[in-house]
Amino acid sequence: MAETIYSIGIDAGTSTSQTVLSSFLLENHGGYFSVPQVAFAERQVLWQSEIHETPLRSAEEIDAPALRALVAADIAAAQPYLNGHPISTGAVIITGETARKSNADAVLKELSGFAGDFVAATAGPDLESELAGRGSGAAERSKTHKTTVVNFDIGGGTTNVAVFRKGELVGVTCFDIGGRHIRFDSENRIIYMSATVRRLIKAHTLRVEEGKTAAEETLKRIAHAMTDVLFMQEDAYRTKGAAQLSAPVKALLETDAEITFSGGVADCIYNNKSNPYLYGDFGVFLGQAIRESRLFGKQTVKPRETIRATVTGAGMYSVTLSGSTIGYADASVFPLKNLPVFTVTPEKEELLWSGKGADELGAAFAGFLAQNDTDNAVLYLEGKANPGYMELDRLARSVAQVFAHAIRKELPRIVVFFHDIAKAAGQLLRRYMENGDSARKGKVVALDRIRVDARNYLDIGRPLMGGLAVPVVVKTLLLG
């Protein structure tokens, strides 16, 4: 049994916006004599849009109608590649400087609703780094070659760094560094300088003024100073809300890590440009400086996607699958969108397994919901690799009690585990719900094989492959 689903990725970045349509082939790898195991067998890009300039109304505001018109035109242009199938998943990501505009939140929600029923709205520097690293092909390269690959996605506003070891994401961070930090008019006069640039100018006592041209040497010095920032771990230059990289870039360079560059500036790193003012911005200077830095050397590899890395990541790698033995009775509860995650600490989880602590945790869960101003959330537990029946039964009873404290009875009860125990836990949980109140019948959703943390939100789509698994988007929603 196989199934193809279609996914859209939309990236509204600092300087450019793009759309990608891709298809996923789902297959059951479980084999005829085993428990099902649904996996992505193939991911394919079907269509890529032009690279549009992100329409802005002012320095603080996105031109929402114009952006919507661009996306609408893209979706219309992609239709022939869908062969009449619906777009069933995907993600809109709002990245770089654009995520800090005053109307970013509204634009994001509108675009995701407009693009499809289960197209996730996402934002956040860490997620951006991860998606760019996956979209560029850096993650896959590190998996295939069993190496460490560091992807630098250098766009107009931000540089998103993601480190992959043997295909696993091990660290992300984001710097306020990009090609649009200085912009020029047609006469090469500076019409804009960002706060980061101003800070660098001051630190290096350079003379640069808006409205005037600057010496190429000076611009080069700024570009080099900016590149040096990548080697620092100072909060001042890190994008607000971004995580600290597990190891500084400098330390990574001393290992046998490979380096890939993506984003709009990547082209200016891999290729020499004769006219540095080509794009009316600082990108060529920055690319040149990076090329002359320690980042560029024999460890540098060109990835599969450069300027389209983030949008490809949003379209192809934002969606994961739950385990293939999961528990739900009523498929009409899906899709579930923008669910915050209430994570249970290992100590508290241990208590639940022994049938204790449910009342306290239930109260904490209710507090969490109030704090997030929402009436439902995911209860996330690590689970156990091979639990016994008795202990799982105790856990289910505890979890039912936690839900009873916090979630109104007509709402679905959503529990997510990392370990493969959701079908069994769901079955037991349903029993305790049904015993209590018939309104709760069928409202249990138990999923597994998903790793999330407290900063994440979850989108859960309609079941796939005859109901075996559900698509899940693990995301952040951090707007600057």
Partner: protein, 267 residues
């Protein structure tokens, strides 16, 4: 009188020689550590004995000892009986096939597929009425598998079946049982669906793996293709309780579809 200059010269010469020799002594031949990492990576993806190396023309001692230990565990799985305590805890009464002992069970597969009328009477007495689903255990080729999985499997499976409103027969244990004994048993009880939980032939390193063979309207002389199989149920495969919940759902679907094996299209 010793010539100090000569001594110094000799010491210097020796030191020089030692310094020359030192790097060769302390540094082993340059070893590619990345190759090691890749090998470990490959080994971590499988329980098969890949990249175990050799010592001359033989296996290395640890490889050989591991092999012997795993082989012994596999033989134990075949030869050891399911502990009576485990059967008692689950209130599983034992019935025996036509085989008189383990040796006959291993050498005469045909006898492991049939039960004497006295055994059938016991089963009939346990299950006087027909049922939607009859679940029972058989040792098959691994008593260890039943010992390891039955206590966690039985309650979750029966819970799940009853939650769907299916009537369940009283489970029992078939000693010296092979899969195809299920036809005779299902016919005797009048079970619409029969599910045999049986110890798999142990591989090297998986002596506790159990399989479920599920058949709709099992009849003597039916083709093997009529059975639906779920294998690899153990701690290192699909977790036992999770498999139990899955089996409950699968049996429900088979009951509703009125078909099993190749006639039943699994999702």
């Amino acid at each position: 009188m010793v010539d100090e200059k000569l001594v110094d010269a000799i010491v210097a010469a020796i030191l020089e020689e030692m310094n020359k020799a030192a790097p060769q002594d302390t540094d082993p031949p340059k070893h590619d550590t990345r190759q090691d990492t890749i090998l470990q990576e490959m080994q971590s993806t499988t329980s098969a004995r890949v990249g175990v190396g050799r010592n001359g023309s033989r296996l290395r001692a640890d490889t050989y000892l591991n092999f012997r230990a795993d082989h012994a565990a596999a033989k134990d799985a075949v030869w050891l009986d399911v502990p009576q305590q485990i059967l008692d805890d689950l209130s599983l009464q034992t019935v025996q096939t036509l085989c008189q002992d383990k040796n006959e069970f291993l050498t005469r597969p045909d006898l492991g597929r049939r039960l004497a009328s006295e055994s059938l009477d016991v089963i009939k007495k346990l299950n006087p009425r027909p049922c939607d689903v009859l679940v029972y255990f058989a040792d098959g080729l691994s008593g260890k598998a039943i010992a390891a999985n039955a206590p966690d499997m039985l309650p979750i499976l029966l819970d799940g079946l009853r939650q769907q409103g299916l009537s369940c027969g009283k489970p029992f244990f078939v000693k010296y049982g092979r899969v195809a004994a299920q036809e005779q048993i299902a016919e005797t009880v009048g079970a619409t669906v029969v599910c045999t939980l049986i110890g798999e032939r142990p591989g090297l390193g998986s002596p506790e793996s159990m399989s479920a063979y599920i058949t709709y309207h099992a009849k003597m002389g039916m083709p093997e293709a009529g059975r639906t199989v779920v294998s690899n149920i153990y701690a290192g495969g699909i977790p036992t309780v999770e498999a139990g919940a899955y089996l409950a759902e699968l049996i429900g679907q088979i009951h509703a579809a009125k078909a099993s094996g190749v006639n039943f299209n699994r999702a």
